[in-house]
Amino acid sequence: MEQKLNLDQQKVDLARATAAKIAEKLHSWIGDYTTTTTERAAARLLGIDGVDHESVPLPNVMVDKLQKEGILDRGLVPWLSMAVVARNQSPQGIAESLASGKLQVSEITALPEDKWMVVADSLAEEAAAKIRATRTKREEMKKKANPCGKPMLYVIVATGDVYEDAVQAKAAALQGADIVAVIRHTGQSLLDYVPYGPTAEGFGGTYATQENFRIVRKALDEAGEETGRYIQLVNYASGLCMPEISVMGAIERLDMMLNDAMYGILFRDINMKRTFIDQHFSRMINAYAGIIINTGEDNYLTTADAFEQGHTVLASQFINEQLGLRSGLKEEQMGLGHAFEIDPSMEDGLMLEIAQAQLCRELFPRSPLKYMPPTKHVTGDIFKTYLVNGMFNFVSILTGQEIQLLGMLTEAIHTPFISDRYLSIANAHYIFNNAKGLGADIMFKEGGRIQQRAEKLLNEACDMLQDIEKIGLETAMEKGYFADINRSIDGGKGSSGVLKKAPGYYNPFIKIFMNGLADMEGRLS
């Protein structure tokens, strides 16, 4: 990648090193804890699925019972494995027995490690093999398909009805979308379980359920087949069930997952501890499954001002990167988020957008940056919005972004209609083609305003990271460093799901995933 900003490489290194320290600080305690959803994720990995007579998912049934019994702090896997050994049942069998009351948690007798751990490991290895197989399948399908252009066209569907979503997803793919994300029901991230089965009613989006993943995956595979392409499917991990949804994604061959270390804290008021712990296991899963994560820095600019808070996006990207690396994600799997959110009525706003986009590009050269469209400042003037989206596409092609979430001309009005997506794709096709090589032919004046803006942003981000390193990320979030949102360390939803690991805690997947990823090439600070 061509360097156009004349950045001070020492500053860049300092920012990255500082972020690494921040991440290390978190990692000094993250490993001591587990969460209910982490354990439920392990259950799901081991094949536990379905719901009880009250529609409670079996992973919840089992984890709740272990928690009630006060023995979840060793993790779910030991108990499950003991029961498997004792009763010679499959994990699903055990879960069903627990749900139906045929088996009580208290009846699971503690066995010594040598009695169950081999079983645990082999069950886990089996599960891991399935995920590897899915990963391989994706790679093969991608290899067979026509390569897709850059930036990749990413659109969302959000009908609230999975069957309608499937229609829209397919149409979008046929129109040229490379990536389709199914937006979730507005309330789902605060549910402490994952709904089950296909769903046809949701507001602002469709529930993320495993069956729903499957339905849309199928529709997109069909569209891929028809067009000789591979269409990527995206859903959202963030929320109270981050690791579980990652498991579902790994199994159903999703290709990307919204997965941010801080989004839940900031935008859903989820407990900090809970989120930091959850993100770690969740990302391990994504890393292992070969899934690209999308981080959520773009959201900061919907509550904070994009001109003044541009550097917070960078600081957060550095932190997300360092945390991601520590969960086994490669740089190539990190769809770090940023956004085109400067008020379009600002004089020279476009220059500022170019500076920020180019800066992100140069700071994270190996990461498939996810560039988010104008949202906050667009209005019901659909013509204007269409144009602003065009300038967003222009900045993207000019600065070499990779994942382009297409702006919708009705962003200020409703979740996208089928025609809105069509128009957004046509918009991107025009701009990306018409300005294809322009970036390669354009330079920024030495010491000019673009370079100055980039330098300023980098300096501010670096300062901010150094501040955070001093006070710790938790305190920084308490002080409203990100998104102009303050969150107290102990506040937020889901804290009751956090458990300090007891001696004897065991989760075979951590080992499998992290070792399996040891050959990673990602940059570790």
Partner: protein, 251 residues
């Protein structure tokens, strides 16, 4: 050019030409038949001489159309009367002064973005210190005690807080409107308030990008605020209404 306000029509470049642009998607693949279907649809909408200027196949059996035509409908503009909030907009200082002078106590407001809606930017703009477009938020008003409960607050929790704080006004924001979820949420709050006997003790005020004053009234609220609302607009309304009520009580 003489304009009859009781029969206004759309205007392109000649009075009463009815010039109107429409776009929509039909669930049929693009083609001559689809184009004709689009034309018929436009005719039904009252567009005369409709011209399909653009047709695109959207894949999966859908097609998109841009249509221009001469809309035959007229509207009686002279008969339109809009219910308006009956008070003038005061400034930050005027509002505080009025509270001191007329109420002689602090005004308590409780605000939230309710249901599963997590769009707090709008309500924050009204409540938080920082405010919006250069206007301070209600938290900053010395004579107002403002509580912002944040996002995704259940209606019941919001009312409980209002009771606890003996609030003068409850402010609800609703941004997500898909499948009219905002109407459901807003209606539920009114019903809950009535059930709990709170309805007359507190001003119910809602706001959001698709809220108008008329709609709010229809739903049983005292007032509704749409896009572009500034904190002092809301402050003015609350104070004026409280003063009004105080005076009515006395008399």
């Amino acid at each position: 050019m003489s304009k009859d306000l009781s029969r206004i029509k759309a205007y392109g470049d000649t009075l009463n030409d009815g010039a109107t642009q429409v776009s929509f998607t039909l669930p049929v693949p693009a083609g001559d038949e689809a184009r004709e279907a689009a034309r018929q649809m436009a005719l039904k909408m009252g567009l005369e001489e409709p011209s399909i200027t653009f047709m695109a196949d959207l894949g999966a059996g859908f097609s998109f159309f841009v249509v221009y035509g001469k809309c035959k409908h007229t509207v009686d503009y002279s008969a339109i009367k809009i219910p308006k909030k009956q008070q003038e907009i005061l400034s930050y200082y005027e509002i505080n002064d009025l509270i001191k002078k007329e109420l002689g106590r602090k005004v308590v407001v409780v605000a939230a973005c309710t249901g599963s809606d997590a769009h707090t930017v709008g309500i924050d703009a009204i409540i938080n210190m920082k405010g919006y477009m250069g206007e301070y938020g209600l938290e900053r008003y010395p004579e107002i005690e403002a509580y912002n409960l944040g996002s995704q607050v259940p209606n019941a929790d919001l009312l409980a807080k209002a009771v606890e704080l003996n609030a003068d006004a409850v402010l609800v924001s609703q941004v997500v409107t898909q499948k009219n979820i905002h109407l459901e949420n807003l209606t539920e709050l009114v019903e809950l308030a009535e059930a709990e006997g709170l309805r007359d003790k507190v001003l119910l005020i809602c706001g959001g990008p698709r809220i108008s004053h008329e709609l709010a009234i229809e739903l049983g609220y005292e007032a509704g605020f749409g896009p572009g609302t500034l904190p002092n607009h809301v402050g003015s309304y609350i104070v004026a209404e409280l003063v009004r009520r105080k005076k009515t009580e006395k008399s």
